[in-house]
């Protein structure tokens, strides 16, 4: 437990330090700005409808995946790139504890960004119309999707040094494109996991989100179960790779 806590703590400092936050925090502000500018002069109903269009799309399709990609891929990718992987891998610590701590840290870090991005438009809505119901579900839904994305991108960051590039292709081709065209694939779409969780908690949201959700059943319980399953698979797969793959490259 001591090692788990130490890895989580140091990884959080690693992820939230430096220039990453300077790029991700302005990104997190965009949904709030869009909501502020777009819902100006709208009725309460109009503003409620509007938050389920552009702001929620930006949160779930852009901010959450990109924050999870940048931070999830860096969780182990930075260690591999900087040669510090040996510092944590050559320890009497079970591999799943290492990868679990890494995932927890990247999830917390990405949830800060995703949470801010999800909260801001909901706060604008609440402040303007008194409808505060979407605030907590928006944050929770973003955190659920972040968990699934972080797990997938942690694996990717361990496999390839071009994780961000590959991840962007995945987000914009697979998540936004292919899973939207083929309704059967919506079940394996990570942003929809959080969206179903959100929709299950807010009255009226499923109707407004019928296009992205399709035949998916709204509900936070199902969303949590799916995210937990993906996170566990990510932890197990990365732990297996830590055991079976070379942890360093060619040297003299």
């Amino acid at each position: 437990m001591r090692a788990f806590t130490a890895i989580t703590r140091v990884t959080l400092r690693q992820l939230l330090g430096g220039r990453r936050l300077l790029v991700l925090l302005p990104l997190a502000a965009i949904p709030g700005l869009v909501m502020l500018l777009g819902s100006n002069d709208m009725t309460a109903l109009g503003a409620f409808r509007f938050i389920h269009e552009a702001p929620i799309a930006i949160v779930y399709l852009i901010v959450v995946p990109i924050a999870s990609l940048v931070l999830g891929a860096a969780a182990l990718g930075d260690e591999r790139r900087d040669g510090t992987l040996s510092f944590i891998a050559l320890r009497p610590v079970r591999r799943p504890a290492i990868t679990g701590a890494k995932l927890l840290a990247s999830w917390i870090a990405a949830s800060v960004i995703g949470g801010v991005a999800a909260a801001l438009p909901a706060v604008v809505l609440g402040a303007g119309t008194g409808q505060w119901a979407p605030l907590v579900p928006m944050i929770l839904g973003a955190m659920v999707s972040t968990a699934a994305y972080s797990a997938v991108f942690m694996v990717l960051g361990h496999i390839t040094q071009r994780a961000v590039l590959v991840g962007l292709v995945y987000v914009f081709i697979w998540e936004t494109g292919i899973t939207g065209i083929a309704p059967g694939l919506a079940n394996v779409s990570l942003f929809r996991i959080g969206l179903t969780g959100y929709a299950g908690m807010v009255d009226g949201a499923p109707q407004l989100l019928d296009e992205p959700l399709g035949a998916l059943t709204p509900g936070m319980g199902g969303a949590l179960a799916k995210a937990a399953l993906i996170a566990a698979a990510g932890i197990a797969l990365t732990a297996w790779m830590l055991r079976s793959r070379d942890l360093a490259s060619e040297a003299g």
Partner: protein, 310 residues
């Protein structure tokens, strides 16, 4: 003990281990073992030392053969790492941590007592910089921080890859003394270096590796003796090279002399005798010497020679 490459009370055993990366063979069919005491792993840059150490530490999986540490495969049994600490060659440190935080992190990861943190920092004489971020450290200070992070784990086996790189002479002497002390306490200390003089100062037993192969093994004196058979090559610059060459050819201790672009290239089996004769002959002939430099003194050439002899 059956060969100089093997020890009786081994804590690390390398059995016919090879490692290749694509077409390149980094380590080829190496069999050796390491036990309590200080063993120097010597070889030129690119010889395969780091790859061998990484296999020993479990960072790399042998392409062929096997490596066991304390009787277990480190790739399969992370429990091995309670007894093994690696100090890698590269700048593998977290720049945003302070030296003290790095050592504390190592203690936390290894389940070691945090009360040993200050002692480990003192052991590498890093107290003054311990609370500064590592990103501001010199290379030598980073090396010492990594050594402190290894010491705090109180591991039975210390694998140190070029730990003296970047350290100044005072720090080097201090670290060498410390490594010897740790070895005298019964720990297995493996130190790699491409500098023969460094290894001579600290290790009683040496394994020499060249081109991924074990070139020689044994005590330092035996390696030295093997090296005395190597003909030395010198480059001599003088204002009258042909005149000097004619005299040197007649001298018994020079085996060959060549002149290329006005420079003498001399090969000798007795460097000491030539060192005495050369200035004396030059003075006698009225030849002005402008430069005398060893042409072939690199460790790489020495060990290539050892490989050829095998």
């Amino acid at each position: 003990m059956t060969t100089p490459a093997l020890v009786a009370d081994a804590t690390i055993e390398v059995e016919r281990a090879s490692k290749w990366f694509g077409q390149k063979v980094a380590v080829s069919d190496v069999t050796c073992s390491f036990g309590p005491g200080l063993t120097g792993l010597l070889g030129p840059n690119g010889a395969g030392k780091t790859t061998l150490l990484r296999m020993m530490a479990g960072l790399l999986r042998p392409s062929d053969g096997a490596v066991t540490v304390l009787g277990s495969d480190p790739r399969r049994d992370p429990g091995v790492y309670a007894g093994l600490a690696l100090v890698p060659e590269e700048d593998a440190v977290y720049g945003f941590l302070t030296g003290r935080e790095l050592v504390r992190y190592a203690a936390d990861l290894s389940g070691a007592d945090r009360s040993g943190v200050d002692g480990a920092i003192e052991a590498v004489a890093l107290q003054d910089a311990a609370d500064r971020p590592i990103s501001g450290y010199s290379k030598g200070m980073r090396q010492r921080a990594k050594v402190a992070a290894a010491l705090v784990t109180d591991a039975r086996i210390l694998v140190l890859d070029e730990p003296l790189n970047g350290t100044d002479p005072v720090q080097r002497a201090h670290l060498i003394t410390m490594f010897r002390t740790l070895a005298a306490q019964g720990r297995t200390v493996v130190v790699s270096s491409h500098v023969l003089a460094e290894v001579e100062r600290m290790a009683d037993r040496v394994l020499a590796i060249v081109d991924g192969k074990l070139a020689a093994a044994g005590d330092v004196a035996a390696i030295r003796r093997a090296m005395t058979d190597i003909p030395y090559r010198l480059r001599i610059d003088a204002d009258q090279p042909r005149r000097l060459a004619a005299t040197l050819v007649d001298a018994g201790h020079v085996s060959s002399v060549k002149i290329e672009e006005g420079t003498l290239h001399v090969e000798t089996g007795d460097l000491g005798a030539l060192g005495v004769a050369l200035p004396a002959e030059a003075k006698r002939l009225g030849v002005r010497l402008t430069g005398v430099e060893p042409e072939d003194e690199s460790l790489e050439s020495v060990f290539r020679y050892l490989i050829r002899r095998r």
